[in-house]
Amino acid sequence: MALGKIKADTLEHSTSGSVDTKFVVEGSAKAWASNSATTGDTISNSLNVSSLTDESTTGQYTWALTNSASAEIDHYSLSGMCGGDARNLRYSDGANTTSTNLDIRTYTSSSGSGVDSKHSWQWCGDLA
C-alpha cells in the first residue's frame, strides 16, 4: 500500500451498513455546476468544470469539463433544473457534445422553445 492510499472493495460503518466501493467510484457525481445569471459566462459553483460559454443562440450553453469523460458526455446521466417558472434543461446530442464539452439547452416546458435561464446540473458517468 502506498502512503496515504487505501485499496478496498468495501467500506463498512458500525451502524449504517456497508457499501461496495464500486458505488463510490461509479456512483459519485463526476461534475456539477450552476451559472450565476440568466446570461453570461460566470459560474457560481462547480466540480470538474473549466469553463462556461453562453452561446449566441437563445437557451444554448456549453460547459467544458476539466477531466474528460471516457465517452461522449451524453452517453451518461444528466439531471438538472432551471430557475424561473416552467423551464427545463436537456442534453443536446449534436456535434457540440463531446467527451469534454457538454451542450445544454434550456427551454420553456409548454412550448419547447429555447429560453435563456439560470440553471444547475449534475453529471454521473465514467471518467477517462
Binding site: 487505501i6 468495501t10 459519485s28 457525481a29 463526476k30 477531466n67 424561473g84 416552467a86 416546458s109
Partner: protein
C-alpha cells in the same frame, strides 16, 4: 476481498478532501464533492410529507407549487447546485427569486423550489424529489 471498517473517512493532507481514482484509471475525482449532501423525496399534494430524506430538517409549503427545503447541516455558500424531478407530468425548478416567480433566494440553510405542470402552472406535487450538491459548512 478487502474491506475497510470505519465510521469516518478523513483526508490526511486536507481533512475534507479525499481523492478517488476514476474508472479510466487516468484521473481522480473528489469524494466529498461528488457526494450528494442532501436529498429530499416529498409530497405536497394532499398533505405536506417527507417520504425520505438525507440532511433535511424540515420543509415549508409556502404556496401552491412553492416549497423550501431546510438543511440539518448547512452548506458553506448559497451557491447550491440543485437537481430534481416531479411526479407524473410535473417538473421541479429552482425558485431563484426572479420576478416571474416572486420567490425567495437560496440560503446556506435552505433552498426554495417550484413545482409546475407541463402547461407551466404552479402545482402541488405528489411525488417530487430534489438533490443538492456543494460544500458543507
Amino acid at each position: 476481498m478487502s474491506e475497510v471498517k470505519t465510521n469516518k473517512l478523513t483526508g490526511t493532507s486536507t481533512a475534507g478532501s479525499i481523492l478517488v481514482t476514476g474508472e479510466g484509471n487516468s484521473t481522480t475525482t473528489n469524494l466529498q464533492q461528488g457526494l450528494a449532501k442532501a436529498w429530499h423525496r416529498y409530497q405536497t399534494s394532499t398533505s405536506n410529507l417527507t417520504l425520505d430524506s438525507l440532511n433535511i430538517s424540515s420543509f415549508t409549503d409556502s404556496a401552491t407549487g412553492k416549497d423550501t427545503h431546510s438543511f440539518t447541516n448547512s452548506f458553506g455558500s448559497v451557491n447550491i447546485v440543485t437537481s430534481g424531478s416531479g411526479g407524473r407530468t410535473l417538473y421541479v425548478g429552482i425558485d431563484d427569486g426572479n420576478t416571474d416567480t416572486a420567490g425567495g433566494a437560496s440560503t446556506t440553510g435552505g433552498v426554495p423550489t417550484i413545482s409546475y405542470n407541463y402547461q407551466g402552472n404552479l402545482y402541488d406535487d405528489n411525488q417530487a424529489s430534489c438533490m443538492f450538491k456543494g460544500d458543507l459548512a
